[in-house]
């Protein structure tokens, strides 16, 4: 994974709460077997409305999504993160995230930062006043800034460290392979196995 220290892009308002992963990417787009090329699927149903935010030219290339509470609830589909990333989003800021979405984002280098509802409202207002305004999310400092307006963002230490270092989770875990093997040697015989088929 690439190292990430900060990202900058247009602040894009998503003025809704409870944006579930079925909205981020409807299930019909989950039939693909690839990991890229999901940009057309992002918010596919909502994008049919010409007034939808991503249909406005200033937001049509993604950036940093500023969303209402409970963003990414519902299904475990990592495709939701891939679709946001493929469309051009590098970060999402929201007061609350679905647990699995947040975890998936951390694995794919999409910054999921927690900010307060009041801060979300304030940024929405700044965007209304200046559509296309740029926001920088700084992972080192754990801040988000629009011009002079700077707020801190919540992101857990471990995810931050992995993103800053660009570390691959599987590679990290395999450094402990001997301990996994030792653990397995103590596994009780009653614990189930799928093979042989019974």
């Amino acid at each position: 994974m690439q190292k990430i220290t900060s990202v900058t892009g247009a602040a894009v308002p998503m003025k809704r709460s409870n944006v579930d992963t079925d909205q981020i990417i409807p299930a019909v787009f989950l039939k693909r077997v690839t990991r890229t090329g999901f940009e057309d699927a992002l918010f596919a149903n909502w994008r049919q409305d010409p007034e939808f935010v991503l249909n406005k030219p200033e937001f049509a290339h993604g950036g940093v999504l500023i969303a209402g509470p409970d963003f990414g609830t519902g299904s475990s589909r990592e495709h939701a993160v891939w679709a946001l990333r493929d469309f051009g989003f590098t970060a999402v800021l929201s007061p609350r995230f679905g647990d699995i979405f947040r975890s998936n984002a951390g694995k794919q280098g999409l910054l999921a930062g927690q900010i307060t509802e009041a801060e979300v409202e304030h940024i929405w207002q700044m965007i209304d006043e200046d559509p296309g305004v740029q926001i920088t999310v700084d992972l080192v400092e754990r801040t988000a800034s629009i011009g002079e307006y700077t707020i801190s963002i919540g992101i857990d230490d471990y995810t931050r460290w992995r993103l800053l270092e660009g570390l691959d989770d599987i590679g990290l875990t395999l450094r402990d392979e001997a301990r996994i093997t030792e653990f397995e040697s103590r596994r009780e015989s009653w614990r189930p196995k799928t093979l042989p088929v019974k």
Binding site: D22, S76, Y158, D169, T173, E188, K198
Partner: protein, 487 residues
């Protein structure tokens, strides 16, 4: 696992005990614990990219003997002997078949007696057991927590991680006790309990927690009912829900294909009995629900927290204090084409769907069949019944349940996820309204423009008879009224 080592520690919860017994490498300095995974369930939608990743990195799949795959999300529920018509779905299924063959993973394909929704087949095979860690690239993996396992939905990167290492780096969860005391009235089910829980704590209420469902109403439930409850923990925002194992759990498991046997059974049982939360253990949060008071529940909106007792009316958004919830409610009413103040029971539906990992076990089908028996479905309504697995279908047929449904006018389908998420041809048309025993009423979930009301199998059955959202109590009243007229 190290099951004997833990003695004389502070009182612990069920979740803490299972967690502690799976720590391979404890985290330090804010790093997560490395947790061993006992059982990895796979299906066609969230696994192809993970297999690809494994292949690219030239890594083996560490434990094929702790992995099992099935085909469920994309599969048709009619004419399953024919090739899958949608070429993209077919490719995904073919990819799973090729990947599982290459990596030596057991697969139950369409047509196999053990094929079915991934969360139905784990318990059915006896693979889902107390004290395990279970993962799957599907958020409704929480279902397996009904046995006293820590069972969580994971993303595709994590699927690949488990394939390669049989572990996951995970931060410990907080714990929340959901205490449900009292006795459910006839006609009120596990589904109504969980819909009431979600309406109470909200779709974000469980974020960061493992929920432990406790209390006399939970103890009184069958394993099927417990699975329904744990299944929808994710709709309350929690990645996992759990119920302590007890005699009900052991009776369900004993004799199943992959349940322990002989000395292993005795050893397992001795361990399982140590798992329930200790007296004096402290939860990070607690919620109380009075089971005596519960009624059949139904959702009116587009998230699972937007629900009310069936006897109530569509709520008025202007009475909601929280601005986000208010605007969500306003938006939901527009999408659902409902007006505030309308009695829920006046809402007419076009489709009734009985199925999904929430409510497609034989007990669910039996309960719905008991209600529709001897009736004919309402006019202009379609009723789809989709068993959770091929085995459930066969068991139901042995009891004559299929005949009751087809006589009623319902379609009796083959097993799969079907209209719960409409990845196969089973979808709602735009504007179509559905009473569904599934778990998500999100916009477009069951088909673009479709409108979903989440209900129990009993409410689904009663609704199919009357054509409007109805409880089993309404059917009884209708019958009593008919009897009075006839005497």
């Amino acid at each position: 696992m190290n099951t004997a080592a833990k003695t004389a520690t502070a009182p612990r919860t069920l979740a803490q005990k299972v967690w502690d017994d799976h720590v391979v490498v404890p985290g330090s300095d804010g790093a997560p614990d490395l947790i061993y995974i006992d059982l990895h369930l796979l299906h066609e939608v969230t696994s192809p990219q993970a297999f690809d990743g494994l292949r690219l990195a030239n890594r083996p799949l560490r434990r094929p003997d702790l992995s099992i795959a099935t085909e469920d999300h994309n599969t048709p529920t009619l004419e399953i002997h024919k090739p899958i018509a949608d070429p993209v779905s077919r490719t995904q299924i073919d990819t799973l078949r090729a990947n599982t063959a290459e990596y030596g993973v057991r697969l139950h394909s369409l047509g196999d007696i053990e094929q079915g929704i991934v969360h139905i087949i784990g318990p059915q095979l006896g693979l889902t057991q107390p004290g395990l860690t279970v993962v799957c690239g599907d958020s409704h993996t929480s279902t397996h927590g009904a046995f006293g396992a820590i069972a969580i939905g994971i993303g595709t990167s994590e699927v690949e991680h488990v394939m390669a290492t049989q572990t996951l780096p995970l931060k410990p969860f907080k714990t929340m006790a959901i205490n449900v005391e009292g006795a459910l009235r006839p006609g009120v089910t596990a589904k109504d309990i969980i819909l009431a829980v979600i309406a109470k704590i909200g779709t974000g209420g469980g974020q960061g927690y493992v929920l432990e469902y406790r209390g006399s109403a939970i103890r009184a439930l069958s394993m099927e009912g417990r699975m329904t409850i744990c299944n929808m923990s994710i709709e309350a925002g929690a990645r996992a829900g759990m119920i302590a194992p007890d005699e009900t759990t052991y009776r369900y498991l004993e004799g199943r294909a992959h349940a322990p046997a002989g000395q292993d059974w005795d050893d397992a049982l001795a361990y399982w009995k140590t798992l329930p939360t200790d007296e004096g253990a402290v939860f990070d949060a607690e919620v109380f629900i009075d089971a005596d008071e519960l009624e059949p529940f139904v959702t009116w909106g587009t998230n699972p927290g937007q629900g009310v007792p069936l006897s109530e009316v569509v709520p008025d958004p202007s009475t909601i204090d929280d601005p986000n919830e208010r605007s969500a409610a306003e938006r939901a009413l527009v999408y659902m084409d409902l007006e505030a103040g309308t009695p829920m029971k006046q809402i007419r539906v076009d489709t009734v769907f009985i199925g999904s990992c929430t409510n497609s076990r034989v007990e669910d089908l039996r309960a719905a069949a008991e209600i529709v028996k001897g009736h004919t479905k309402a006019d202009n309504l379609r009723v789809m019944v989709v068993p959770g697995s091929a085995r459930v279908r066969i068991e139901a047929e042995a009891e004559g349940i299929d005949k009751i449904f087809t006589d009623f006018g319902a379609e009796w389908r083959f097993a799969g996820c079907s209209m719960c998420l409409g990845m196969n041809p089973d979808q709602l048309a735009p504007g179509e309204r559905c009473a569904s025993t599934s778990n998500r009423n999100f916009e477009g979930r069951q088909g673009k423009g479709g409108r979903t009301h989440l209900v129990s199998p009993l409410v689904a059955a009663a609704t199919a008879i009357r054509g409007t959202l109805s409880s089993p109590w309404d059917i009884e009243q209708d019958a009593a009224a008919t009897e009075t007229r006839n005497t």
